[in-house]
Structures are given as C-alpha cells and as structure tokens.
Symmetry: C2
Subunit: 199 residues, 2 copies
C-alpha cells in the first residue's frame, strides 16, 4: 500500500494542530506544554517535533487557523458610500480588536510575525492577503476620485500598515488605554496622510 505512511502522518499532524488549538484557547500559549499537546493528541512528546520544529512554529500554525475567521470579516465589502478614511479605520480597527482581544496571544503573535527569527513564508502570505485587500480598497477610492490615480498603492498600504503598528505599539506600551483612544489615534494619524502636514 503506497500512501499508508503519508496518510498517518497527515492524521497525526491534524491531531497536533487540533489539540493545540483546543489547549491554547483553553489555557493560553505559555501555560500549554508540549507534553499536554502530545498527550491530547495521543502521541509521544518527542513525536511532536517530527511535525513542528518548535513550539512557536505550532503557534503560528494555530494562528493561521484563527486568522481565517478574521479574514471572513475583513473581506465583507466595506460600505461603499464611506470615505476611504473611514473604511481604513474600520479595517484596521477590526485587525486591532482581533489582535488585542487576548493580550498575551496578540503579543506573542506580533512578536513572531513582525520580528521572526528567520524570514517566514507563512507570514509573508498573510501579509500579502492583507495588502491585497487594502489595494482593492484604494483602487475603488481612486475610481470614486478620492485618491489621485498616480499613487503607488503598495507603498500606501505599507504606510497605513505602519501607522496601525504604531498604534499597536502604543497599546502594548501603555500609551493607548482603550479602543476609543486607539481609534482616535488612528483617525488622526491617517488624516495626516491624506492632508499632508507641510505648508
């Protein structure tokens, strides 16, 4: 029988992911040990390392599954009559709420995604999907005449993403204490970009 091993491996892998999702959700990342995961998945502790290089690696896979839900929300078409500024604030506040919903979870995720130990394609794919959504949003703003057609939309995406990061850092650093403050900061910062601050 050809694929016996392959099939088993796939099953075991799925068992590890499922167990991780359950335990991370129940007890959080740091409180869940590899042994817990192994036991829950019905395998030996060392076997986990055949499938995932490190605990962080499992975490990122866990996040992928979680983030799928977020995408569903993020991709629902924005209200068309909103200004692009409002759409952007909506978009990033959704991300913001998702990431900060569980503080420990968000911190871990951000550390891994933004400053990974080595360049990580899983992360790149995620970012690409976000940037695609943003570019679509900007394109339709151009069609409505809210944005000049000459803008480099990727760079613009990076710009707003950076501002979103800034607000997140403010949150984790204790400068931004509530969702309201976060939204206000975003709106002000985003405003700069459209109006410019020069003379």
């Amino acid at each position: 029988m050809a694929g016996l091993r392959e099939q088993k491996k796939a099953e075991t892998r799925k068992a590890i992911i499922d167990s991780s999702i359950q335990l991370f959700t129940e007890k959080g990342f740091e409180k869940t040990s590899i042994e817990d995961i192994a036991k829950q998945a019905g395998i030996g502790k060392a076997t986990v390392y055949t499938y995932f290089a490190t605990k962080d690696d499992i975490f990122l896979t866990f996040c992928s599954e979680e983030l799928e839900d977020a995408f569903a929300t993020l991709q629902t078409p924005r209200k068309e009559d909103d200004r692009v500024l409002d759409q952007l604030v909506d978009f990033f506040m959704l991300k913001f709420k998702f990431v900060t919903k569980n503080s420990e979870f968000g911190r871990q995720l951000l550390r891994e995604m933004l400053f990974p130990k080595k360049v990580n394609n899983k992360v790149k794919e995620h970012n690409q999907r976000y940037f695609d959504i943003l570019e679509k949003l900007f394109k339709s703003a151009q069609d409505r005449g809210e944005l000049p057609p000459a803008q480099d939309l990727f760079l613009l995406s990076v710009h707003f993403f950076s501002l979103y990061l800034g607000v997140l850092v403010g949150w984790y650093g204790g400068y931004v204490a509530s969702l309201e403050e976060a939204e206000e900061a975003m709106r002000n910062l985003f405003g700069h970009v459209f109006m410019g601050v020069g003379l």
Copy 2:
C-alpha cells in the same frame, strides 16, 4: 558602618551588568545562560535574581548601556540647512543602522521594547528621550517655516516613528534587503506625510 550593604550591592550589580555585556557581546543573548553570567560575576545563580527579575530585564539594562552611545550620535546637532525631511531620514537611519547592526540583538531588543510582557518604565524613558529630540527638530522646522505652527508635534513624532517601525518590520520580514532600500523606503513614506496623498 552605614552604607556597607549598599556599597556591596552596587558592586555586585555592576559585576552582573559587566559580565552580561561581555557575554552577550561574545556569545549572543540566547547562548548566554544565567549561570554563565553568575559564574563570570563570581556569585551564585540565584543571587542574580536578587538584582534582576528576569533574563529579559538584564537584557534591557544591557541595552540601556549600549543605547547611551547611540544617543551621543543622535544628539549631535543636525546640519541646520538641511530640510526637515533630510534630517528625519538621517535621524531614523541612524537608529535603523544601530538596531540592525546585529540582527539577533536588534530583534530581541525590538520585541522587548515594542511588545513588552508588562508596561515598562525603562522603555518609556527611552522613547521619551527620542521623542524629545524629534520635537526639538520639528520646532526648529516650524521656526524656519517648513512646518505650519499648528501641528501636534507629539502626534507627528508618533507618525514618523511608526513609519520607521514599518521599515524595520520590512527588514526583518525580508522585504527590505539593504540599507539603501531602507533609506529609499523611508524617504518615500516620509514624503507622503509632508505632501499628503489626497486630491
């Protein structure tokens, strides 16, 4: 004798910091164990924890010492005839070079500073010093008429800081591969802010 204990404590503390600086520099953060540090400082492992709460805490103190050097450079008066945009690029490129000089060091530092496990005053002080420099820079730009006097300078500092973060994330994510690319990205993003991208 009154200050005997105080004095000893100060000496021990200094011994820990010196040992840490030496070992972190020699072998890197992750390869240096608390036991290494203790041995090098001539004390017991557990004693280290009388002076520093966690290994991360030692790391941040280590960084403070390192960052002092950076401040010396950052505070040399910018060339007065530069445009504020050039001054900003200079300023943030210096920070950028400093942080990315040693990739592992920078990653660890950024993770701790930007997404700390709990709000950290040491970090806040650092940021305050940076923001002070930036605000001074903006003020003199206002005096020269390069910036309208009504701007909220703190928010403006946050804005540029966020863009700097974005470039750093690009670096660690493998999108920005060289210092030249980093500088170009910064210049373009900073440009947005002054000109605005609206119609």
